[in-house]
Amino acid sequence: MMWLLVVLLSLVAAVPSARALVAEVSQREIAVRTDFTGAELIVYGAKDSIPTDIVIAVRGPPMPVVVRQRTRIAGIWVNGASAMFEAAPGFYAVAATRPLAELLPETERRRFGLGLDALPLRAREARAEDSFRQALVALKVERGLYRQQDTGVTVTGERLFSVRIFLPPTVPPGLYQVDVFGVQGRRVEAVRDLTFAVRRVGTSAEIWRFAHMHPWLYGVAAVIAAAVVGWAGSIVFRRG
């Protein structure tokens, strides 16, 4: 991690004013290959001694999601009432130097969408109760796609800060938004926003694109591949 230190020190030298805040992400592009098992992203930067606290939010591309409630009908569990969230972030991680509730009042947290309880998740069905919203967050947390690390941001010498964000293997591809907030006296004093992209590359990306753009050809190719492997396999093993 020597390079990180060097970068951070050079950043410190560049901080101009009292409320300045600079930030960067370790990778601007994360490649999802066939052997992808998740990735670690480091968001780091430098600030002055004021603002004292840092909140960092990472948001994945918004996507529609349906939450269904399991209900029992005649002894069998079926999917009952549902709520559709049209723009739930595909990934969300928030980290801070201190617990979020201590740092910012609820109105501010809602305004910037900071904290799992302050995410702007709106269901299409107005009647949908809050339980659907909570279930959505809970299920995403369980899959490692939503996370709140209240004390995840480490600060070195009042000036350098960094946080490690783990992106699980199921992260959706797309453009990711990173917002870095400088917080002082229960107010957001400075904001920096960055972006990075998660892209499917290599064979798996080619296969996905082919399957979605030429579904007929893909189906035929799957049939031929299965036929060749099945036939070749039987020959290999008959001799062996």
């Binding site: 066939t34 999601v65 939450v67 296969i207 996905w208 591949a225 299965a226 492997v229 093993f237």
Partner: protein, 302 residues
């Protein structure tokens, strides 16, 4: 060894997948079946989406059945006329099945429908198989001779057709109905349907046992091929990487299974297969009535 599945959009342990292929291949070689009805529940069990499990399992079953079909074809054990009738009806059934599959998926009830189909179909077939093998075992002890084949009322329906190789002159209505039904189940359950087709051919159509396996493989290969293409087009849920990994295991397993199977007697094999089918039905039935781990489920919208 983690491998990212491009269509399922998740990482899985490649060795676990090959292992599943091996285990299912072993049983399919032992019992002379495609094994799709074991494959789909196992894939769902390790966390794959039901849509991917069903569609990929059909693709895999096709690959696993093709070598068997070639072997039977070379030995002349395929009634291609009967096979064609079953296949054409099967294609119509699978086209309808894929539509139903997409509809149910949009309604968010896919997991339920797949499980219910498995419980009902496997429950009935498993019970019939177990009962039949018990009867055959008793018959052998009492030495009651069996007739070549019995004429059902349904054989006398209109549009008669001669199936030379099967030595039958019957109405095309029963084979069309059977083929259609199997095609439909193939699309919904991701199975080849050999475990239903074989007894249906013997007991409902009265085909001679010598051509039954080959002819059923004929239908299975073509219908699962059609299901693969149709699922690719309508749901984009055939995962070719998953399918190839499964096949690597299945092809190897089937050879060992076939070697083991030659040491068992017919009714013993069928009895064991019946028990296996029944236990899958009971296992899946339990998941329907068991209180779920989470009171809510999440699914992406496509």
């Amino acid at each position: 060894m983690q491998i990212y599945l491009p269509i399922a959009e998740m990482s899985v342990d490649g060795l676990v997948i090959v292992g599943i292929g091996l285990a299912v291949g072993l049983l399919s070689g032992l019992f002379g079946i495609g094994g799709g009805f074991l494959m789909t529940p196992l894939l769902i069990f390790i966390g794959l989406p039901a849509a991917v499990a069903v569609a990929t399992s059909a693709n895999q079953t096709m690959g696993a059945s093709i070598s068997g079909l070639l072997a039977h074809w070379r030995r002349g054990n395929v009634d291609s006329r009967m096979g064609t009738v079953l296949t054409l009806a099967g294609l119509a059934g699978s086209a309808l099945g894929v539509q139903a599959f997409a509809l149910v998926r949009r309604a968010g009830q896919l997991d339920l429908v797949v499980a219910v189909f498995y419980v009902i179909v496997l429950g009935i077939v498993g019970a019939l198989m177990a009962a039949e093998s018990l009867r055959a075992w008793l018959r052998r002890r009492r030495k009651i001779p069996r007739r070549l084949h019995e004429h059902f009322w349904m054989h006398g329906l209109p549009v008669k057709m001669r199936f030379r190789k099967s030595r039958l002159y019957i109405s095309v209505v029963p084979p069309v109905a059977i083929g259609f039904g199997i095609g439909f189940l193939s699309a919904i359950m991701g199975v080849g349907g050999g475990f239903i087709l074989v007894p249906a051919m013997i007991y409902l159509l009265g085909m001679p046992t010598g051509v039954v396996i080959g002819t059923s493989l004929f239908q299975v290969v073509f219908v699962t091929a059609a299901v693969t293409v149709l699922q690719s087009v309508s749901t984009q849920s055939v995962d070719i990487v998953l399918s190839l990994l499964l096949m690597v295991g299945a092809v190897a397993g089937a050879q060992f299974g076939a070697a083991m199977g030659s040491r068992l007697r017919g009714e013993e094999t069928r009895g064991l297969l019946g028990l296996l089918v029944l236990s899958v039905a009971v296992g899946l039935g339990y998941t329907l009535v068991r209180t779920p781990d989470a009171p809510f489920v999440l699914e992406p919208l496509r």
